[in-house]
Amino acid sequence: MNGMKVRIKFRKYGPVRFIGHLDVMRFFQKAIRRAGLDIAYTGGFSPHQIMTFAAPLGVGLESNGEYMDIELHSLDSCQDAVERLNAASVKGIEIVSAKVLPDNTANAMASVAAASYTVRFREGRAPEADIARLLPEFLARETIFYTKETKKGTRELDLKAGIYEMSWDGRAFSLLLDASSAGNIKPGQVIEALLEQGGEKLQDNALLITREDVYTRRELTGDGGAPGDRRSENSREDFISLGEIGTLEIHL
């Protein structure tokens, strides 16, 4: 029997933001059982639920837009799945929506292209610099090199191409960054590079980061938009939220 792909959108906030990505996956494997969803399994001696997560969320980050695709054999309604999962969940992991995906949809992980973030400074850890003055110059740069520390030493990374949008409203940054497997960059790296330009170091654990949403490229969904523009611009219109794909209708 062919199952249907269902995309679950959830939020993660409060104390459970300290739960790592692998443990969130394990959490959902169990939550789906508690909720009694009719999920499909792989074969073999240790069958696994058919489940894919979009993009791992770092420990300590909150999110308003996390995604997981699962395969179900049957489903009463999308709303029912949301209610059952919420009843089986814990405070701080809140299911927002469930949508049935068209059969040809790329899986959540493979299709990730960008992610948006809201970033604030923790109390007492804001920089001296005037960010509003620093930012235009930062964004106008040709290259934004950042030294990434890896297990084998350090690596130079150019962040420039991966910063799709960045603004500051006096209290918080709003960011749209490359989150693809090839070019993923982290909000902390961008803020660190920004402050470095003003000759300042980011304090330890200074940022409060919320991932707002995760996006795929509109062209990949068959919803073309305006071809030609996208490669050069990488603007918000070129991306579509993973949560906008799919329908609430069940077709078997």
């Binding site: 104390p15 169990k30 939550a31 814990v90 405070k91 654990n205």
Partner: protein
């Protein structure tokens, strides 16, 4: 922000430490209550890291029991790992309970389960971090009552200084009464001391401060007696005789991180009929009490539904002895197959039935088969009363090899009483015979991996209280090491030595385990000093400082030899003699004598050995009578019960 969202640890700390999930609570099925609406706050502690502590069934049972009472809120705490331990000391952060994230110091009770000797310094870590004075007698009225339970409380003496109270036996029976006594004392303005005096009169409770030990010149005990009127001289263990109509956690707490025992645990029975002479659990938990199979089926389904766990395991000391095992396993195979749930089956005797079951629940090519002969020769197996013959092992192995298994694990002990070099060589010879059985049984063309893999492991024997070997001399460290070398050499001389891998345990920790297991009150000072010198997590090889322990034992004017390397005389007063676990000293003496005669004893179902546990009036001790009843029809089985 809601109150329960507040964490005891700052984000800065949580971002720096390993596995912050150990400390944030919020797990599925953890219980939150309104603290103003309860009258007793109990914190249950397993003094080891979260992943170990959360795997313990006993705490889950008691957690469910306490929280089923409206007036009680039970929470949990585990040992902070080394990284957090350091930060908490540096920043004076008091130890907190996971659910409310509030300091333990504010609780009415701190209950600590004591599962192994090597956790003793962690108990002091818990007290210290909580801001509770280590020495019970120094605690003020504002401190929680510190109560210990678990197997090590059958010789609580080395820990006597640190506990206000020990609960001897199974927790299901007397906690309600104890908490009622506590509430009554508090409501009538009684002091801590007055409460403890009343608590000491509750069955199963041992309040060490009301007892005194007098020693002989040679260090042995001259007398042990209560110092207050009305405090019992002898304490009988508490036991839950009806294990079906009792507390069991239908909603066990489900951790976020992977823990050691990450599955639903179905305890099918308590106790063991076997009577292996080295085994403490086999004596402490007598008599065997089986759970009703229909109830177990119901519980299994409910726990799986409430946890979402993808695996279930059966728990008992010897699952093969559960009389309704085939029926229970058939049921689980069917239900779990439908729900894609794995079944894990520990402690099964290897025979046609268990191999058939195992082939259904695991991939035979990847899994290994486990035998625990414990001793290498039939002579020594008779001494320890391990009713496993070489014939049974080899025929079980042959069956398994035919079924496709190619990996076998063997467990033995070195240093058992009366052991000779021949017995040790027997370990190598038995390992070799099992390998030979593979080559005899499986024709060349059918050898999937081409070969067989035997992993032979030895641990060092540590005599434990309430076993027939409680009087026995423990080997010295050097003797242990010599025995391990001899084993290794003997294995290397076998024809099939290339198929055999040999592992042995460190000897250091076995020496200390032996000291603490049969120790007395004077060791309290040693434990405290070692803790103050910085020891915690002694159960973790990399944290264990053997020399520090040995030096401190000497500093305190005590000796390792006294506690381990001497054979005790039968008339010596042992530190744990005041505890009555059902099994009598007379029975243990008989068994000790039979061991030396190399005589085996029948198990409880074959023939009663008169161990003394029959006085509890149930379980296997009264089974014969219920079997007579059953012949008239299965429904009659429970008619005699009221």
């Amino acid at each position: 922000m809601l109150r329960e969202d507040k964490l005891a640890l700052s984000d800065d700390i949580l971002m720096k430490i390993e596995k912050p999930e150990r400390y944030i609570g919020h797990e599925v099925n953890s219980v939150l209550k309104n603290k103003d609406a309860v009258s007793v706050r109990f914190c249950m502690c397993f003094p080891d890291v979260y992943e170990i502590g959360m795997s313990h069934l006993g705490i889950q049972i008691l957690y469910a029991m306490f929280n089923s009472w409206e007036d009680v809120w039970c929470e949990r705490v585990y040992s902070p790992w080394l990284d957090l331990d350091k930060m908490m000391r540096e920043q004076s952060i008091p130890l907190f309970a996971l659910e409310s994230q509030e300091p333990i110091k504010n609780f009415d009770f701190l209950g600590i389960t004591i599962q192994y000797e090597m956790c003793y310094t962690n108990i002091l870590q818990i007290l210290d971090l909580a801001g509770i004075p280590l020495i019970a007698a120094e605690r003020g009225e504002d401190c929680p009552i510190v109560i210990g339970g678990g197997p090590c409380t059958y010789n609580p003496e080395p820990l006597a200084d640190f506990f206000d109270l020990f609960y001897i036996g199974e927790g299901e029976t007397q906690y309600r009464r104890l908490l009622d006594v506590y509430k009554d004392c508090r409501d009538t303005g009684k002091s801590r001391e007055e409460f403890l005096l009343q608590a000491a009169k509750v069955p199963g409770m041992y309040v060490p401060r009301f007892y005194e030990t007098v020693y002989n010149d040679d260090g042995t005990i001259k007398s042990f007696h209560p110092t207050r009127e009305g405090v019992p001289a002898r304490i009988t263990k508490e036991i839950q005789m009806d294990v079906t109509d009792t507390y069991y956690p239908m909603k066990p707490v489900v951790p976020f991180i992977k823990i050691t025992q990450d599955r639903v645990v179905l305890e099918i029975q308590r106790g063991c009929i076997r009577g292996c002479r080295f085994c403490q659990a086999g004596q402490l938990y007598r008599p065997v009490r089986e759970r009703d199979v229909e109830t177990l089926k119901k519980w299994a389904l409910e726990m799986l539904k409430n946890t979402g766990q993808e695996e279930i395991t059966l728990s008992s000391l010897s699952s093969s002895d559960y009389s309704r095992l085939p029926e229970l396993i058939d049921f689980l195979l069917e239900e779990c197959g439908r729900q894609h749930i794995n079944i894990s089956l520990p402690s099964l005797r290897i025979d046609a039935f268990s191999l058939d079951v195992m082939s259904k629940v695991q991939d035979v090519r990847k899994s290994s088969l486990t035998f625990a002969p414990e001793a290498g020769s039939q002579r020594l197996r008779n001494v320890i009363n391990k009713g496993l013959t070489e014939e049974a092992i080899l025929s079980g192995a042959a069956l398994a090899f035919e079924g496709g298994w190619t990996r076998v694990k063997l467990y033995f002990m070195l240093g058992l009483p009366t052991e000779t070099e021949d017995d040790i060589r027997g370990i190598a010879e038995l390992s070799n015979k099992i390998a030979a059985t593979f080559f005899d049984t499986v024709p060349k063309e059918k050898r999937t991996n081409g070969k067989v893999q035997i992993v032979t492991s030895t641990s060092f024997f540590v005599p434990k209280p309430f076993t027939p070997f409680q009087w026995a001399r423990q080997c010295t460290k050097d003797e242990f090491i010599d025995k391990a070398y001899l084993t290794r050499k003997a294995i290397s001389e076998q024809l099939n030595q290339k198929s055999i891998k040999y592992n042995w345990h460190e000897a250091d920790a076995s020496v200390l385990e032996g000291v603490l297991a049969r120790g007395d009150r004077r060791l309290g000072e040693v434990i405290r000093r070692v803790y103050e010198k910085g020891s915690i997590y002694d159960a973790w090889g990399e944290c264990y400082h053997h020399e520090r322990w040995i030096d401190t034992i000497e500093e305190c004017g005590l000796s390792v030899d006294f506690y381990t390397h001497r054979e005790r005389s039968l008339d010596e007063i042992l530190p744990w003699d005041f505890i009555d676990c059902g099994v009598t000293k007379e029975f243990l003496k008989r068994e000790w004598e039979k061991a030396r005669q190399e005589e085996i004893s029948a198990n409880c179902r074959q023939q009663c050995q008169g161990c003394g546990a029959a006085k509890f009036g149930g379980g296997v001790c009264t089974e014969a009578r219920s079997q007579v009843l059953v012949t008239g029809g299965s429904s009659e089985r429970y008619e005699g019960k009221d």
